[in-house]
């Protein structure tokens, strides 16, 4: 339905195309992907072919030059698919990893990589987190030593989405090991197969099962000096800037997940009978679902409004942090109740709510944990 305050006819048409893609190209296959632990590249290429990987990028590279609102439509609809492992595979590529290349990359780097990124021939990952440094980005320990026109990387990266199957990795490392702080983090663009770079293991996860997540190791990994993304020492600021987009995306995705769960549960309680009538006849149930619907509507409106302000160039760090904290927690609250109202069935693997509940858990941790987000909000209120 056109929501004239935030969206145009083009956004609605985009929504329609994504829904159709999910019905035809995702839902019939995604259970198998959950078992395989990955989304097939052929599916990602199909998404590229209909323009879903170039939403924000210029036409010259094959993109559509749209703004944050279109990104929100993409993230929300992928979240609605009920397979968030699939959604995150695409969204890390479009909105968390490749944006490092687009925002900071040189003309040469962009020309070389952006067309493949947009078509889905090149899949990207972003590697910031380490075994000993997650929320505290400044404390990463991976180093990059400058040696004869090359950088030599040493260290390990943890929980990297698309880590097993990506082609291009945007990797954070410290360039000046003697000095602690934020201005010695640098982003590097590293291709799969660079000498000394290995995917040490694929990780076995609680949810997001069809998203591949890896630990990466850099052991005297030598990359040419022009692998730097942006300027040496500016990586921390690039990460913080790109986090803003990532967090709106995760918020939109979470609200898509929550709405899908509510829709499934509304269907279920309207047909499931107990004590002589559908569960829907119990006020205890329908009032809880009514309140959750109101909260999800509020979360969604916060995401939409923040995306409009972000698109207009406003500084919305406080609101983006609110989005991440609020939506990341809310989706878990919704899943808990939706599983509850499915009764014993909700606990069964064959029931989508069971998977969706596992998938939702990470929304309160990844891309800025709730506690860390609330600190960002607290600084600004």
């Amino acid at each position: 339905m056109p929501d004239g305050i935030y969206f145009t006819a083009e956004h609605e048409l985009l929504r329609d195309q994504i829904r159709r893609f999910i019905a035809e190209e995702v839902l019939p296959f995604a259970d198998a992907w959950e078992n395989d632990g990955m989304v097939p590249r052929a599916t990602l290429r199909k998404m590229g072919a209909i323009g879903l990987f170039g939403v924000r990028y210029p036409e010259a590279y094959g993109g559509s030059d749209m703004d944050t609102r279109a990104t929100v439509v993409l993230a929300e609809e992928l979240g609605r698919s009920t397979y968030s492992g699939f959604a995150i595979t695409a969204l890390v590529h479009t909105d968390m990893a490749s944006i490092h290349i687009f925002n900071a990359g040189s003309d040469k780097q962009r020309k070389r990589y952006m067309p493949g990124i947009i078509s889905g021939d090149l899949i990207t990952a972003v590697a910031v987190t380490e075994p000993d440094a997650g929320s505290d980005v400044k404390s990463i320990r991976t180093t990059a030593r400058f040696e004869e026109n090359n950088f030599v990387l040493n260290g390990a990266k943890m929980f990297i989405t698309n880590g097993v199957h990506a082609d291009l990795y945007c990797v954070a490392a410290k360039t000046l090991s003697q000095e602690e702080g934020s201005n010695n983090v640098t982003m590097f663009l590293i291709e799969k197969g660079a000498p000394g770079f290995t995917v040490s293991r694929a990780l076995d996860k609680h949810g997001w099962r069809c998203s591949d997540t890896a630990e990466l190791v850099f052991e005297d990994c030598v990359v040419p000096a022009d692998s730097v993304l942006g300027e040496v020492g500016q990586g921390f600021y690039a990460i913080m800037r790109n986090f803003q987009n990532e967090r709106i995306v995760l918020g939109a995705m979470a609200m898509g997940e929550a709405q899908a769960a509510l829709d499934l549960t509304l269907d279920y309680v309207r047909t499931r009978k107990a004590f002589g009538a559908p569960l829907w006849e119990k006020q205890a149930i329908r009032q809880r679902l009514a309140m959750l619907s109101a909260k999800v509507e509020a979360g969604r409106q916060l995401v939409y409004a923040t995306s409009v302000r972000d698109a207009a160039g406003e500084e919305v760090v406080k609101e983006v942090s609110m989005v991440k904290a609020y939506c990341g927690e809310l989706v878990n609250e919704v899943m808990y109740d939706c599983l509850q109202f499915h009764g014993g069935m909700g606990y069964m693997r064959e029931c989508p709510i069971e998977r969706m509940t596992r998938d939702a858990r990470i929304q309160a941790i990844g891309g800025g944990a709730t506690e860390v987000m609330l600190e960002e909000v607290a600084k600004r209120i």
């Binding site: 339905m1 056109p2 006819a9 083009e10 609605e12 048409l13 985009l14 329609d16 195309q17 159709r20 893609f21 072919a49 209909i50 323009g51 879903l52 170039g54 939403v55 036409e59 094959g62 993109g63 559509s64 030059d65 749209m66 279109a70």
Partner: protein, 249 residues
């Protein structure tokens, strides 16, 4: 050769249609609308003819309320070159639509009119046949295959007994069936490009067509709910029930 593709805005096929409380029609407020699925097939076929070099231009045309523009934009995003909106708030009957489309065809002089065999709202299945009569052009309905050979058209039709192959002279009117093709996605770059394609707006008066309805709708109501079936033990019992209970044989 120009191809003219009439398309209609209908309730989205995935929506559960509900009757309005006052029984004056079906509920349209806050209901998701979309291009009629058979029209999508017609647009796809026309765009393929253009891609194959057989058609020079694909024009989508829709008659209806202002929001039909959205449906035309979808057609443009699928690859049509330009669009014509015949804007009116009057509910349109098939004959009125056929007259409007005849007027557009007289103006545009297409070699082929490709349209859906029916719209999933009224399921009338009349417009194509009526335009063909009004224009005096040959027609092929329910096409599952369309091939152009010079100024001849070879069409495979889906008929009750199977498939029928017919040859027509052009210009012609072809109504398309479900199995003709699978419509493409409107890619995001094409959705954005569609914004810049021309969309001409006309009224029935501009075309000199009187669209006043000839049929009055007295009441719209839900079909009676289907009752549970019964199992019969033998053919004899079935025949007996059909004869004596249902009284149909």
């Amino acid at each position: 050769m120009k191809v003219l593709v009439p398309i209609k805005r209908v309730i989205d096929a995935n929506v559960k249609v509900r009757v309005k409380a006052d029984e004056s029609g079906v509920e349209l407020t806050n209901v998701k609308m979309a291009m009629n699925p058979f029209c999508e097939i017609a647009v796809e076929e026309a765009v393929r003819l253009k891609e194959a070099g057989t058609a020079s231009e694909v024009i989508v045309v829709s008659a209806g309320i202002a929001q039909s523009q959205e449906t035309l934009r979808t057609g443009l995003a699928m690859g049509a070159d330009r669009a014509i909106l015949i804007q009116t708030d009057v509910p349109l009957e098939p004959l009125a639509v056929a007259k409007l489309l005849k007027a557009v065809a007289d103006k545009e002089e297409p070699g082929l009119l490709l349209l859906g065999k029916q719209a999933i709202d009224g399921d009338n299945n009349q417009t194509a046949q009526m335009i063909s009569a009004l224009l005096g052009w040959s027609q092929a309905t329910f096409a599952s295959k369309v091939a152009i050979d010079g100024d001849k058209l070879n069409v495979t039709r889906e008929v009750d007994g199977g498939l029928e192959n017919i040859n027509l002279n052009m210009p012609a009117v072809v109504s398309v069936d479900l199995r003709l093709n699978e419509p493409r996605y409107a890619s995001l770059p094409n959705i954005m490009k569609a914004k810049k394609k021309p969309l001409e707006s006309l009224t029935p008066e501009d075309l000199g067509v009187d669209v006043t309805p000839r049929v009055e709708t007295v009441k719209v109501c839900e079909p009676p709910a289907r009752k549970a079936g019964v199992k019969v033990a033998s053919v004899a019992e079935l025949v007996d029930k059909l004869k004596n209970e249902a009284k149909v044989i």
